[in-house]
């Protein structure tokens, strides 16, 4: 499977030397090095905030370095704009795609440099479509150049982005977490395309957190930590535990596994939940003091079940009992009133009001409790309770007046948790609780979840990281195509047993 081309051209296409970059109040890059050869896949690894994205933005002309050298084909270049970088054949595919949904694939690929006809007055749509089709053929993908991008799956949109990069005669392609929104088959397809590009001599910078992917696709690995270059290693000979310890700067301790349903009383029972083909006859129960894991592939319907239980989306059928009593949950307000909280993976959009302070975010769901005559805010009391929760959950923030957008991912997550604890919610649904959170801060969040369960909260954890599910859950429910395909005890579950259930599609189940 591994295609390690050893006839690599040892001379780098691009080289970054001694790059320094500071932003007000923070040093993002210090003495950062990186080089990329023709036809190699070079993985760039590090925790969140290690400086990977910043370094790539320097390479692609988005940021100007404070000091250091950028060399392209051995010549020093002042990379002052992304346009310049693209002109030199250096393209980046961001984690969040930058496509115009209402335009076609071909229009997106050639945006800003459309072929013209009729004295340059009209866009030559036919030529544009033909050119786009040629690129797709070269990539061996079947995408209609005239199809609207907004109608395509994320995986296909990503292929359009890659095609766009190739249309610039890309020699260097930076891919930032390209598989984060792809399913298994789609990942395989992407890897094939990467191998083809390699064979054509394109150098690829591959930014990821996923060790198995690196093992399979990368030729070399460069590890960064705290904005600094740590080491560049050959991928084939380096054990992944070494890479991880270089990334975190310490050895990871192994963890204990939980098991059993817990003896606590049943706090939530969902029966016969249905919503079109997205949620199909989902039933489960949750007990006090337990952590229930929801595993499955992207799009299996886990988030949708959580949102339905929380009243954020309507359902076609289903009964929800909280503490044994059947209840109608038509809105998040109803859910919160019954002690159910939902902590979205997308904290910036659904969890936090990022422009407001730590104090306001922690207390937001409880504001009505802190008023005089139901009108005037008791700001003193708010500050006191916010301080108490900041201390309890060890939220790292200079003051409670700090805007939450300035906090790290882990601390933002703690603020959201604090919000629901203060609101006396005893059923907590975590959707990807450590998405976008550093490796170091992750274990702190894990400990916090376990502690909350010990204190008697009932917790659901939805996660795409099997390791996370295995580490936290006492019981694991696996979903596929909107159905629950099985339940596994946390102590006996393995990655394989989960994956089997997660891919148990309708045809196979029958």
């Amino acid at each position: 499977m591994n295609v390690h081309d050893h006839s690599l051209d040892p001379k780098p296409v691009v080289e970054l030397l001694g790059i320094e970059k500071s932003f007000p109040g923070v040093r993002a890059l210090h003495n950062a090095h990186f080089d990329l050869r023709r036809g190699e896949v070079h993985a760039l690894m590090g925790e969140n905030g290690a400086g990977k994205s910043t370094l790539m933005k320097v390479l692609t002309g988005v940021y100007q370095p404070d000091a250091g050298e950028i060399r392209v084909d051995d010549a020093v270049v002042a990379m002052h704009s992304p346009q310049l970088a693209q002109g030199m054949g250096i393209s980046i595919i961001h984690q969040e795609l930058f496509l115009m949904n209402h335009l076609t694939a071909a229009q997106n690929i050639f945006i800003g440099r459309e072929p013209r006809r009729g004295m340059g007055l009209f866009v030559d749509e036919a030529k544009m479509k033909a050119d786009a089709a040629a690129i797709f053929r070269r990539m061996k993908v079947d995408i209609d150049p005239a199809g609207e991008v907004g109608e395509m799956t994320v995986a296909r949109q990503q292929l359009v982005e890659i095609a766009k990069a190739l249309s610039y005669e890309a020699r260097v392609l930076v891919m930032d977490e390209p598989t984060s929104a792809l399913n298994g088959t789609e990942v395989e397809h992407l890897f094939e395309i990467i191998r083809d590009l390699k064979a054509q001599g394109v150098g690829i910078v591959y930014i990821t957190h996923k060790m198995d992917e690196v093992k399979r696709i990368a030729d070399r690995i460069t590890v960064m930590r705290d904005g600094e270059f740590i080491e560049t290693l050959p991928a084939a000979e380096t054990p992944m535990s070494t890479v991880i310890s270089l990334m975190v700067g310490r050895e990871l301790t192994d963890h204990t596994r939980a098991s059993g349903a817990g003896a606590g009383e049943e706090v939530l029972r969902v029966s016969g939940l249905n919503r079109g083909s997205i949620i199909r006859d989902v039933s489960f129960a949750l007990r006090k003091g337990e952590i229930l894991g929801f595993a499955g592939l992207m799009g299996a319907g886990r988030t949708e079940v959580a949102r339905a239980v929380f009243g954020a989306d309507p359902v076609d059928a289903g009964e929800i009992r909280v503490h044994g009593k059947p209840c109608r949950i038509a809105s998040p307000r109803d859910a919160v009133a019954r002690g159910i909280a939902y902590l979205s993976e997308d904290r910036k959009h659904f969890g936090l009001v990022t422009g407001m302070s730590v104090r306001d975010n922690i207390t937001m769901a409880s504001w009505t409790r802190f008023t005089q005559n139901r009108i005037w805010m008791k700001d003193g009391a708010l500050a006191e309770v916010a301080k108490e929760y900041v201390a309890r959950l060890k939220v790292k923030t200079p003051t409670i007046a700090q805007e939450t957008r300035l906090l790290s991912g882990g601390n933002q997550q703690k603020v959201v948790i604090a919000k629901w604890l203060l609101r006396d919610c005893d059923i907590l649904i975590f959707d990807e609780p450590t998405r976008g959170i550093d490796v170091g801060a992750k274990s702190e969040i894990y400990e916090m979840l376990k502690e909350l369960a010990r204190q008697g909260k009932a917790i659901i954890v939805i996660s795409s990281e099997l390791e996370e599910i295995l580490r936290l859950s006492q019981r694991i429910l696996v979903m596929c195509e909107g159905r629950i395909t099985g339940e596994i005890d946390g102590a006996t579950a393995t990655q394989e047993s989960i994956m089997t259930l997660a891919t148990q599609r309708d045809s196979e189940a029958a």
Partner: protein
């Protein structure tokens, strides 16, 4: 500002000049500069009597600006404030002149009617999911049409209620402090502004307005009754328009049903010059009042200088763009 450590940024310790105060300070500095400029170049500008003129000229726009500030901070917009002001003035006329009821009925009636109509805008936005721009554009026409229908397209005079004139004109302060002639309308504006600032900063409504404006979805998922608070916000805007309607009709001693179109844009301009963000989540009442003062100082000063109305309009436009540009620059620096 450029300390090069890896410690998390601590913007609170960068001095007393945070962006918010800097923005307010900028608007204030512009106001002072304008006053200084006109004092030097416009003869007879710098007199107490003219300052009274300016304050009085700010009253209506200031009050409407406050109304629209609430809505803009909640990430909405209210295009109906101008004609809503006219409609509430007509309502006051119907109550006081046509029905002959005592003054308090007219005052309370006008404000409540404004609040009611505002709440209808809010309900269209919250329940029918009509974009605020469209809903209040519709309400702007509805209010304008109703003002003409209710008044029979004729001005309604307040000659039967002589005390009505004192809502805007005359001066309570002069009686307390002889010589300090600040017209009542100006006191009403400052009263509305102070009440609004307290509501915005101290009440639960104010807190929800900021939350809605910054991230409505997060507020909804926090269990906030988003629909209700939107209706209350637009209702409050309408209520304050009612105060504007009382001020203008008291000043003219008549409810002029054809007036009011275009006043909403002045109100929005005052809010924007004062640093309120049209994308929501950010803004202050003090800023809006300063913005309204900048506009009326500019107008008054240019008129005293004898500059033509046409150029006054051009210069106001330039000031709006400049204010938002300065705001953007400050925001980037932060």
């Amino acid at each position: 500002m450029t300390e090069t450590t890896l410690a998390p940024a601590a913007p609170e310790k960068t001095g007393f000049l945070t962006v918010a105060t800097l923005q307010k300070a900028v608007a204030f500095v512009v106001l002072i500069l304008l006053l200084g400029f006109f004092s030097l170049f416009a003869p007879n500008f710098a007199q107490w009597s003219n300052m009274v003129n300016i304050m009085q000229a700010t009253a209506v726009n200031g009050v409407l600006g406050v109304a629209v500030t609430f809505v803009i901070i909640s990430a909405g917009i209210d295009l109906s404030v101008g004609t809503m002001m006219t409609l509430t003035a007509v309502i006051a006329g119907l109550i006081l002149t046509n029905a002959g009821l005592p003054l308090p009925f007219g005052v309370v009636g006008a404000m409540l009617f404004g609040g009611f109509m505002g709440a209808i805008s809010g309900a269209c936005i919250a329940k029918l999911k009509i974009p605020p721009f469209i809903a209040t554009l519709g309400m702007m026409q509805i209010a304008r049409g109703l003002a003409l229908v209710f008044s029979g397209a004729k001005p309604i005079y307040f000659n039967d209620t002589p005390s009505y004139y004192y809502i805007s004109s005359g001066s309570v302060i002069t009686r307390l402090i002889p010589g300090l002639e600040v017209p009542n309308g100006v006191l009403v504006m400052f009263g509305v502004a102070i009440a609004a600032a307290v509501i915005l900063n101290r009440s639960i409504l104010g807190r929800y307005i900021f939350a809605l404006g910054s991230n409505e979805e997060a507020a909804r998922l926090s269990g906030v009754n988003v629909d209700m608070w939107k209706i209350v916000t637009y209702g409050l805007s309408g209520l304050i328009c009612g105060v504007g309607g009382l001020l203008i009709s008291s000043r003219l001693n008549s409810a002029q049903p054809a007036l009011g179109l275009g006043y909403e844009l002045d109100a929005i301009a005052a809010a924007v010059i004062g640093g309120t963000s049209l994308s929501g989540g950010r803004g202050t009442i003090l800023g809006t009042i300063i913005g309204a003062f900048i506009m009326s100082v500019l107008t008054n000063g240019l008129r005293v200088m004898g500059v033509q109305e046409e150029w006054k309009i051009v210069i106001t436009g330039i000031i709006i763009i400049a204010a938002v540009y300065v705001d953007t620059v400050l925001r980037k620096k932060a």
